[in-house]
Amino acid sequence: MTAPPLTALIVEDDAPIRRFVRMALETERWNVVESATLRQGLIDAGTQKPDLVILDLGLPDGDGVDLLRDLRGWSTVPVIVLSARADEQDKIAALDAGADDYLTKPFSTGELLARVRANVRRAGTPSHHETRIFRFGDVEVDQEARVVRKGQVEVHLSPTEYRLLAFLVSNAGKVLTHRQILQHVWGPGYLDRDHYVRIHMSHLRQKLEADPAQPRYLLTETAVGYRLVEESTEPN
């Protein structure tokens, strides 16, 4: 790696967690800034110009989602949320407020680093979805020709399925909530029909995944939403 080191901001009140996240990131040549409070985190986010923010939701001086909303007012930096709460509603709230990804404690460092890589790569190539041919597994999505091929064979998708796939492709690696998908693919009048997303997702998997019951690319974030990954995370 010859590129200048990237800066990550960790906003987390628990020192041991800050420490091991720092250790993990430093093995990948990250420059790490730590904040223990929401106030400090906001200041650091403004002054340090981080390339990545790792944000704990439960902070002593406020809710991480507030920081996120503030941050999204002026920055598009990728944000990965850490949550000790199992409640999916908190994660959805954070994602809808602009977070890119989340991890539930406890999480493994391997998982953390994989998410960091995926999010930074996506953030680094902002316009790829308009120009490039997107590939995952043996599937190619040619966004200019609006053609989808699986193993060189063209796959017929319905217009809605294509819109859904295109939205996933343009946000590859990022967790999209049902709400975000419904808003983008169907429109704001459909926000309570999350089963539409599930049905179409199931159709997409039938058409694009080798085993739709054990998908490798079109992943479910249970009760939260979906994520398209470019590289299978399954141990193979």
């Binding site: 093995t27 319905s158 089963h195 539409y196 399954e234």
Partner: protein, 911 residues
Amino acid sequence: MASDRPDPDRLLAEVQAEEAAQRRGHLRIYFGASAGVGKTFAMLAAARQLRDSGTAVVAGVVETHGRRETEALLDGIEVLPRRTVTVNGRSMNEFDLDAALARRPSLLLVDELAHTNLPGSRHSKRWQDVEELLAAGIDVYTTLNVQHLESLNDVVGGITGIRVWETVPDTFFDTADEVLVVDIPADELLARLAAGKVYVPEQIERAARNFFRKGNLMALRELALRRTADRIEDDVQAYRVKQAIEPVWKTEASLLCGVGPHPGGEGVIRNAARLASQLGVDWMAVYVETPRLQRLPAVAREGILRTLKLAQEMGARTAVLSGADPAVVLVDYARSHNCSKLVLGRTRTKPWLPFLPSLISRVGALAEDLDVVAVGQATTSQLAAPQSMIEDPDDASAKGRKRWRAYSWTALAVTTVALAATPLLPHLELANIVMMFLLVVVLVGVRLGRGPAVLASFLSVAVFDFFFVPPRFSFAVSDVQYVLTFAVMLAVALVIGNLTSGLRYQAKIASTREDRSRAVSEFARELSGLLETQQVIEVATRFIEAQFRGRATILVPDAQDRLDGTAVTRIEGADEGTARWVLDNAQPAGLGTDTLAGSRCLYLPLRAPMRNRGVLILKPQSRHVLLVPEQRRQLETFAYLTAISLERVHYVEVAQQALLRMESERLRNSLLSALSHDLRTPLASLVGIAESLSHSQPPLSAPQQESATQLATQAQRLASLVENLLEMARIETGETTLRRRWHVIEEVIGSAIKSARPALGNRPVEVSIARDTPLVEIDAVLIERVLYNLLENAGKYTPAGTQVRISAEPDGSSLRVAVNDRGPGVQKGQEDVIFEKFTRGVGRESSTPGVGLGLAIARAIVEAHGGRIFVASVPEGGASFVFTLPLGNPPAGPDEVEAESLPQATGGIAA
């Protein structure tokens, strides 16, 4: 354009009526002009068709009258056995309502709707049986002849000269969902009669011969068709309102009917009811009680009250008004209640008073803007008094004693005056002595009423003549001018006596009325401050007992909807079963009602806006108390106030409990989330640090690396254990709220496999999902947890590398999901035990990790979803854990039609 919009209140009423109709059974009436037109035949033919298409049809009562074609139709339809009733030593058959309710067919055939039940039945009329069947949600087909319809009863009687006493109220007829006219021309009916196809009982054969005259039959046919046309008109109107085709607004004005003391009042009522329904307006029936009418014999007064009751049954609001001049009272009432039409019976002018204007002309003179409809008085007799309404003999004799005493006092008073005046005779003019007698008449009138005043008048004249007018001690009169004195004295005494007793009566009425309204306001005030059900019951009972002079009790169902049996025993002769019926049907029963009229107690449901809050049982000392409509309404007002108070108290309790529950839930949730935060945070550090240790630079030595890996694994195990304990704690608190959404089960299975992958290691998982599997409404996080726990179990107890199979398929009304492994299986006898908390499939000392919570959690989650989890036996060995999830009605999918068919049912193996 406001006028194009349907009235929201009207639409709401429409919706409410539709909802009520959904719960109620459907009623179809086969309506005919007379016996023999083929109603039963038509009903059976329709029922057969339905039966052939699979509907459960049961015949409750079908009178075939020995007609062979009809009997043939009944063949193959289940007939409900009749109830045997013994009346006067003769055993008779009757329709068995309870058997019908217990049998609960989809459709019940009940012939002859107008039938009067034998004494001792729950309801006095069969249509009331049908009403209860409909309320229970059973569809009913029934038959009815036009002469049995309440409002046409006297018209038909007038045409045919034969009155029938079995009638069905028009309100019931009008609420029928469908009315089918069974019609044949009169000639054909007569031909059928001649051919002996119409059953005619011998004893009434001659009457029937009169009945089946061509003229009669044509008139009846016309009536039947017209009545049906009226009904259809209503249907059309209802349809128009619903479809907003054309706004048809009812006028707000309603119709007022005055009931008089003359025979034939029912005729007036029926006419008014018919007129009101034709005009489509509400109507009211009132009786103006004048001092003169108050003195009518009890039987006549009860006749009037019964007429009012009939009006109430036919849908009128009723009231008893009082005043000296009925014309003034009627006009005032009509004005204040916005009635533009007044229906009155025409009275004959009395031949000896030809100059006295009739009531109708006086009303006309008082209010020129009012339409007055004069109805001819039918000459038919008064309604027969039901048994329960005839006055108590005790009551009558008590009244008689009281009257006797009043007359004795009168005689005594007159005698006293005579004695007192005798010594004064030499000193006073006779004219002054007359004054003393007049004073007595006035006092008697004030104190004792009209009858004694009249007696006092005559007695005074007689005594004055006998003792004071010369020649004394003889009724002979020496001077003719005394005859004039007697006449004037009698006239003055009578007029004064009448006036004073009239005033006294007015005052009495006014004070009774004031008493009533004061009682209501006091009752309401007492109830308003109460906060406990028991207090409400005590206060209400006390008030009602004092007001209605009898024993009262209030039964309130408990949380399990059971009535307290001990409260019933407070009243001798009260019956818990009747109370239950009243509560369930929200209908009054017992004394003075149509249901179980033989009882000495009145059962009133305590109806509140949300639901029935209980039953009020009243056993009045005198049955008369409940006969006055005002009194009855007073009791109903009391019952309503009690019901509202009970409801208010109920909701106060509900609100308190909800507050308490919210508070404790909040506490529990904050405790749990604090616990989960405080446990997870250090665990997260532990797992993270152990992992980063193994990746640290420079690389660790082999034994150090081994330790770091061990550390990470153990920390992970601890984390999942904590996870299970927290999950169990959350379920144990009993308030796990399911976030149910419609899910594709394949997706949930996929996520479970993904998260269980570390626990499964290299064991391949095969998934097969039936193609027609619909969406299921589940909390995906929790069901994923169930699957995860089952997979983790497989990971623990099966040898590495063995296959795990997950299958899902619809099974009846539920989805069946099975997780099969190729391990050692579950030990015999352990199939249920392993779902208990802290129970493990292996011995306590086993090296297999875990505390035995996984399956207990799985069971709690599945059961919270309304499903079942169990171990199934598999012939090829291994364990098979199966759980079911109820399938509901999935919402409509996206509108977009997928042009191509989907790939085949999924299946595949991944390792």
